[in-house]
C-alpha cells in the first residue's frame, strides 16, 4: 500500500511543525489508504455510512497519535489497528445498523449495463454484511483485514497481535460461522 520511502516522508511531515506539509501529508495518506480502510471498516462497523465515519475518525486519530508511532511496525499496520478501534467505536454508538453496502451503490446499479445482475450482487453483499454483523469482534476484524487486497497473513497477525498460524484458524472459524449464518438466513426461493 505504501512503500518504505513514502512512509518515512509521510511520517516526517505528519510529525513536523509545518501545517501545510502536515495537511498535504494527511491528504496523501487518505488518498492512498482510504479504500483499503473502507473495506476493513465496512466489515467491522457493518454499515457504509458508519464505515465512512470510521475512516474519517481514523485520520483524526492518526494526527493525535503520530507522536507515539515508534516505527516498530509498518505505517499501514498501525493505520489498520487505529481503523479497527475507530470502527468499533463508531459501531458501538449505532443502535441499529442498516447493513447498507455503500451509499453510491444505487448510482452504480442505475449506470450498470446489467441492472438485474448488479441488484442481485448488491443483495448478496448486504446478506453477507448482515451475517458478518453477527460475528464476534475478533472474527469481524480478521475478516475485514483479509478482505484488503494484497495483505498477507503476517501483516494481519501484526495488526491483531496474534501468531500467524492463529490468523488462518480464526479466519477458518469465521468463514464456518458465516456459512452457518448465511444458511440460516437463506432467502425463500
Amino acid at each position: 500500500m505504501i512503500d518504505a520511502t513514502t512512509e518515512a516522508r509521510l511520517v516526517a511531515a505528519l510529525r513536523g511543525g509545518d501545517v501545510q506539509a502536515r495537511d498535504a501529508a494527511i491528504a496523501e495518506l487518505h488518498e492512498r489508504s482510504a479504500r483499503p480502510l473502507f473495506q476493513l471498516c465496512l466489515r467491522v462497523a457493518c454499515d457504509a455510512a458508519d464505515a465512512d465515519d470510521a475512516v474519517q475518525e481514523t485520520f483524526v486519530d492518526v494526527l493525535r497519535g503520530i507522536g507515539s508511532f515508534r516505527g516498530d511496525a509498518k505505517l499501514s499496520t498501525w493505520l489498520f489497528r487505529i481503523a479497527i478501534r475507530a470502527a468499533t467505536r463508531v459501531r458501538n454508538k449505532t443502535a441499529r445498523r442498516r447493513h447498507d453496502v455503500t451509499d453510491a451503490d444505487a448510482n452504480a446499479v442505475a449506470g450498470s449495463d446489467d441492472p438485474v445482475a448488479r441488484a442481485a450482487e448488491r443483495e448478496n453483499a448486504q446478506r453477507l454484511l448482515a451475517a458478518i454483523d453477527q460475528l464476534p469482534a475478533a472474527q469481524r476484524a480478521v475478516v475485514g483485514l483479509a478482505a484488503i487486497q494484497g495483505i498477507e497473513h503476517a501483516e494481519i497477525a501484526a495488526v491483531l497481535g496474534i501468531p500467524v498460524g492463529t490468523v488462518g484458524s480464526r479466519l477458518h472459524e469465521a468463514r464456518d460461522r458465516l456459512r452457518v449464518l448465511l444458511a440460516a438466513r437463506r432467502p425463500n426461493p
Partner: protein, 210 residues
C-alpha cells in the same frame, strides 16, 4: 451454503465497497476536530474547578463541596484508569476484551437498575396509598416510568451490544430478583423495623420522664 457461494458473496461485497467513493478528507476540519478533542478534557477540568470554586466560596454550597470531595477523587481515578487502560492497548484483541467486559458490566447493571427503580416505584406507591397524598403518586409514577423506559429503551440495546461483543450473558431476571429480595429488600425491611422500634422506645422513655 457452499464454499463457492461464500467466495462469490465476499467478492460481491468487495466490489461494492470498491465502487464506493470515500468522502474527501478536509485537513482543516480534521485539525479543528483534533483541537476540540484535545480541548475537551481541559474544558471538563475547568468546569469541575468552577463547581468546586463556587462551592468553596458560597457557604450555601457546602453540600456540593462535600459531595465533590467524596465523589470526585473516585471519578477522576476511574477516568484515569480507563485512559491508562486504553493507552496500554496493544492489539485489537485487547480492545475486544475491554469491549466485552464493558458491555457485560453494563448489561448486569442495567438489569439491576430496572429492578431497583421498579422497587422504589412500588415502595413510593405503597406510601402514597397509605398516606393518601396525591402528589406522592406522581413521584411513584416517575420512578415507574424510569424503570419502564430503561427496560424498553436501554436494556435491549445494551444486551444486544453485549451479545455482539461476545460478552457473558447477564444473570436471569429471576436470579436478580431473588438476590435483590435477599440482600437488599430483606435487610432494608429489618433495618426499617429496627429503626421504628428504636424510635418508639425513645419516644416512650421521653414521654415517661415528662
Amino acid at each position: 451454503m457452499d464454499d463457492f457461494d461464500l467466495d462469490s458473496m465476499e467478492a460481491a461485497l468487495s466490489r461494492a465497497a470498491e465502487r464506493h467513493a470515500p468522502p474527501p478528507l478536509d485537513p482543516r476540519s480534521v485539525r479543528r476536530r483534533l483541537v476540540i478533542l484535545q480541548a475537551g478534557p481541559w474544558l471538563w477540568l475547568l468546569f469541575v474547578a468552577a463547581i468546586a470554586g463556587t462551592a468553596a466560596v458560597q457557604s450555601a454550597w457546602w453540600i456540593a463541596a462535600l459531595a465533590g470531595v467524596v465523589l470526585l477523587p473516585g471519578a477522576i481515578a476511574g477516568v484515569r484508569a480507563r485512559r491508562d487502560e486504553l493507552a496500554a492497548l496493544a492489539t485489537a484483541d485487547d480492545l475486544a476484551a475491554i469491549e466485552r467486559r464493558h458491555f457485560t458490566t453494563l448489561a448486569n447493571s442495567q438489569r439491576s437498575a430496572v429492578i431497583v427503580e421498579a422497587a422504589i416505584a412500588l415502595l413510593l406507591a405503597a406510601i402514597a396509598w397509605h398516606t393518601g397524598d396525591s402528589w406522592r403518586w406522581g413521584v411513584a409514577a416517575f420512578f415507574g416510568a424510569l424503570a419502564a423506559g430503561r427496560l424498553v429503551a436501554v436494556v435491549p440495546f445494551v444486551e444486544r451490544a453485549n451479545r455482539d461483543s461476545g460478552g457473558e450473558a447477564p444473570p436471569r431476571w429471576i436470579t436478580l430478583l431473588v438476590l435483590f429480595a435477599l440482600f437488599v429488600l430483606l435487610p432494608f425491611l429489618l433495618l426499617g423495623k429496627l429503626v421504628v422500634a428504636g424510635w418508639r422506645a425513645v419516644v416512650r422513655r421521653l414521654g415517661g420522664r415528662s
